[in-house]
Symmetry: C2
Subunit: 365 residues, 2 copies
């Protein structure tokens, strides 16, 4: 049975999902007495609607990890008020994710997100202008980022221990922003040095993904449970860093071996976009000279057609890059598992639930 401090996953999702919408609506509402000109009200409403639409449909892995880590750290003995505060803090992480994805989709010029039009595309359609849609998308990301900090700040007041929570939440923002900068920098790196490319890609995963996917949910939960800041950070890094890297490697692998139904994205999307991944680096490292030339040429070109995408997926398999990613994932999961065992080796239900919440990030392990 899948329990979270006595609460089933279905029940947990039932509390997370509507609370996110409620918190966004509350954060975005204007104060009593404030008003906007009639001529502009419709566009503002479009942006607020899109804030809710963009927030829907996540698996809430991050919120569920944070709640499981809190229950583990408090042995399920927190008061209802404190657990309500922790729920809001967990929702704040999800709201921040939406903010980051809205900007990410503008930067990558992605038209789809979770199977729906991306936020800036939807706003371009609503306003009949690509330029205005993009501008509104930048502001929607900013509004959601601001809202996420406000939700975390309010949540921290409901917790017995609020020290350092806003600072840790802002550090999460910063790490993701640094990660996005590094991700753009990798696009400029030469392709002829696969070892450098692999280590740079893993470094991007640490900053852009592990930061808010696994490290911050654990760190914030431990702080909320009254943990010492340095100790909370250390434990969050020990478990969250390898777990977050494994999660991103598995996600990149799904792009190649998964199905569109599974990820909400068409297979080979990363290849089509020319994304520089660990898979690509491993394939270049293990390819024959002819295959290597083919890969480097294909990823140096401005675009890749469907035949090339299929051929590259084949090369990722035949060179052994897919197998190599599976090994990397297994080894990182072992590292995370060892750090978990150090923290919670018991048979207590909160301990098992925490390990299960972590395992959800690595379906391929």
């Amino acid at each position: 049975m899948d329990n979270l401090g006595g609460m089933s996953v279905a029940a947990e999702m039932t509390s997370i999902e509507p609370r996110i919408a409620e918190l966004i609506r509350h954060s975005m509402a204007l104060r009593a007495g404030d008003s906007v000109a009639d001529a502009c009200a419709d566009v503002l409403d479009d942006v607020l609607d899109q804030a809710l639409t963009s927030s829907e449909g996540g698996k809430r892995l991050r919120a569920r990890l944070a709640l499981a880590a809190f229950d583990q750290a408090t042995h399920g003995r927190a008061s209802d008020e404190e657990r309500a505060g922790m729920l809001d803090l967990a929702c704040a992480i999800e709201v921040f994710q939406t903010a980051a994805l809205v900007h990410d989709d503008i930067i990558d010029e992605s038209d789809l997100r979770r199977g729906k039009p991306s936020a800036h595309r939807a706003l371009a359609t609503a306003t009949h202008s690509n330029a205005i849609g993009r501008g509104l998308g930048i502001m929607l990301g900013d509004l959601l980022a601001t809202a996420s900090v406000g939700i975390a700040d309010n949540a921290s007041r409901r917790l017995a221990s609020s020290d350092g929570i806003v600072a840790a939440f802002l550090n999460m923002h910063k790490e993701v922003e640094v990660g996005q900068v590094l991700d753009l920098a990798v696009e400029l790196a030469p392709l002829d040095d696969p070892d450098t490319l692999a280590s740079a890609s893993l470094n991007v995963f640490r900053w852009k993904t592990a930061s808010y996917t696994t490290i911050a949910p654990i760190e914030l939960a431990l702080l909320a449970a009254g943990g010492d800041p340095d100790e909370s950070r250390r434990a969050a890094l020990a478990i969250g860093r390898p777990l977050g890297l494994a999660f991103q490697l598995a996600d990149d692998l799904l792009d190649v071996v998964g199905s569109s139904r599974h990820t909400g994205k068409p297979v080979g999307g990363d290849i089509r976009e020319g994304k520089r991944t660990v898979l690509l680096a491993d394939a270049i490292a293990m390819a024959s000279p002819t295959e290597r030339g083919e890969l480097v040429n294909a990823f140096s070109a401005p675009a890749r057609d469907e035949d090339q995408v299929r051929r590259i997926i084949g090369l990722f398999e035949s060179t052994g890059a897919v197998a190599c990613s599976r090994e990397r994932i297994a080894s990182l999961w072992e590292e995370a598992r060892a750090a978990m065992d150090e923290r919670c080796g018991s048979d207590a239900p909160e301990d098992r639930t925490f390990v299960e919440a972590c395992a959800r990030f690595v379906p391929l392990a």
Copy 2:
């Protein structure tokens, strides 16, 4: 003599300017033990350098208003530690302004800011890619916005009264973001109803400019001085709303009657960009039918050439729109002045300094 709680403006600038750079450097630094891959380090350095470059050269009117409001509210009797906290809070407002301008320039596709290349243009030059420069610019804005909240959060801990400061700071973020949305919405409004256009433009000024230029600096200073939240908000709105509107009207007027040397922007820049301003609305309202047709056509077109810009500046003068803006500014300044008198009618130096700090926003009054 121009004094701020006994400190001259020159001395005040000497403390604000380097402190902003110091706070940005500290906020952007990675934690001990953290590192980024060598292959990406140069691009991250470019972004951090640009964070400092983009922050330079402001007149610091907002920081100086916040400090003057704090000195007025504390009668210059705050401890050194508290005033140091207030200085950092004032700097946080300036850092947030830079964040907002970086995104604003991306949305408006502006190449210049304060006479230098705008941030995303400078980053495009550094990376030889417009797309990557724009992506890095979005992230630079995000990083500076995150940094500004962290600086405000840290500053609040140095103040005797820290309650509500982070919440008020985040509300300022939100108001500016809403204002930017409204500003984009005005671009979609029809030009044939000048009254609606004028009131919508003034409403944009309330959200996009007055919010962080005059309302928040006063509100944050009063909170920092231990003021009641509702009373601080009321006083900040009473003075800051009309003052901020007058400031933006004066700024738009300078675009028409000013010089490039004065504003760092070429004269007529707003007209060239097709910006929908109160000046334009007043000109359309007061123009003859022929002139009105000419204005509506010119602002409905995708671009305006230099002859048209000159001709439109002429129409802004001849229709009386320029004179009308001067009257609007004078009347708003009177409204702000009356609210100031209610708060600080005495001859005490802190009171005079506060009024002087307010007057700097409206050089044309």
